[in-house]
């Protein structure tokens, strides 16, 4: 077992205080998604693993070595400092040293030129070694942050929404690179993300946090595809418009930034109101699929 984490930490939320409580075991070598609404304790969970925040009590062991052990109200028996823990950390912000080149940023983490060369090669930074962060794009900066977090050859890589500031194309490229790094280094990764396609593409497990507790611990397929009904095609939306004509009724529903129109029956027409939160769905057999064409309206342009 790679990671055993059994901790409790008091948190102060906008809707009252709650405690982050985990009782988890994560095997070596996987990529685990940490998901859930803002303020549910995801980032605190990662900070506890990295040693940037201490829990009130609990036990944390990574690959047979105890990183934290302590009881409430006492000084922890064991509490390794962040630099003693073999954990790499990448945040949404890049946190690079602006006055240092890419190479110097990597060497600051660990003075190991061979490792720096290998990681720059792996992340496609080879010809940017002497460039300062200000001249890099968002995707390149995040590659540097990722390479730097790997300089000390961590056992555990902690990623807090590392790709959420990037556009879709760059996001997809970095997801592929992350998979490549994971394959080559065999490192155990925890990644905070809200992006369902990212979870499906990268992760073998999802921990869904709600008010400090893990309310679902499943594979992405179990969480997203095997639903409570046999409808595979279901989206949460909000009713914007209801109309009646001839023998039918229609509802215009906003799903994310997309608008769709659905035919409903008279019973549904009677029970629905504008503004209602609804799920529109159909079976996996019914939707059709075709290539996007230039005359199709792309809601992501808005």
């Amino acid at each position: 077992m790679m990671l055993v984490v059994n901790v409790r930490k008091q948190l102060f939320g906008a809707e009252g205080d709650f405690s982050l409580t985990t009782d988890l075991e994560i095997p070596k070598g996987g990529i685990t998604a940490v998901a859930g609404p803002s303020g549910s304790g995801k980032t605190t969970f990662l900070r506890i693993l990295a040693g940037l925040t201490s829990p009130e009590e609990g036990f944390l062991q990574v690959d047979g070595r105890v990183w934290f052990q302590g009881r409430e109200g006492r000084r922890p028996r064991i509490n390794l400092k962040p630099q003693q823990r073999r954990a790499g950390f990448v945040f949404q912000g890049y946190a690079l040293f602006p006055h240092m080149s890419v190479m110097q940023n990597l060497l600051y983490a660990a003075n190991d030129r061979d490792m720096a060369e290998k990681l720059m090669e792996m992340t496609g930074l080879g010809n940017l070694r002497d460039v300062k962060p200000a001249q890099l794009s968002g995707g390149q900066k995040q590659r540097v942050a990722l390479a730097r977090s790997l300089m000390q050859q961590p056992e555990l890589l902690l990623l807090d929404e590392p790709l959420s500031a990037l556009d879709e194309t760059m996001k997809s490229v970095l997801q592929d690179e992350l998979l490549k790094i994971h394959r080559e280094l065999g490192i155990t990764i925890l990644i905070v993300t809200h992006d369902s396609s990212e979870i499906f593409k990268l992760c073998d497990r999802v921990l869904l946090f709600e008010k400090g507790r893990v309310v679902a611990d499943k594979t992405p397929r179990e969480l997203f595809v095997e639903r409570a009904t046999t409808q595979k095609f279901a989206f949460k939306g909000e009713i914007l418009e209801l109309k009646s004509f001839d023998a039918i009724h229609t509802a215009v529903v906003a799903i994310g930034n997309n608008l769709v129109e659905v035919v409903i029956d008279s019973h549904e027409r009677g029970s629905l109101r504008i503004g209602d939160k609804v799920v529109i769905g159909t079976k996996a057999f019914n939707p059709t699929i075709r290539r996007f064409e230039h005359h199709d309206f792309d809601f992501s342009r808005l």
Partner: protein, 133 residues
Amino acid sequence: MNRIRAVVRSIEAHEALHRITLDAGEERFVVITLELADEYRVGASVDISFKSTHVALARSLKGELTISNRLEAVVAGVRRSRLLAEIDLRSRAGSFTSLITVDALERTGIQEGDRVTALMKASDLYLSRIREA
């Protein structure tokens, strides 16, 4: 959405595909679906749901049809509009509605009190688990 309460009678799986037979009253239904959550097992109570637009109606049906679900029903009401008509139906499995064109209504001569056969394809029906309140 039409809903008919039923009990799972059998499940046949082939890789991700499942064929489920269900009993509702004295009627038998067949549903085809992809991955099935564990809570759908033989003996489970479920709702079979389908849209009115997915129910075809036949009078004096003869000959062979590939459609898996046929339900004998009585026409309990006809609400005719200009292009479409909503037909209320009563069966041994429960009540439901069908939405058909006025052309089809005139061609078949369906009217209140008639005995008809309702036809639904196995891939047009979906299941939802009944949650205890």
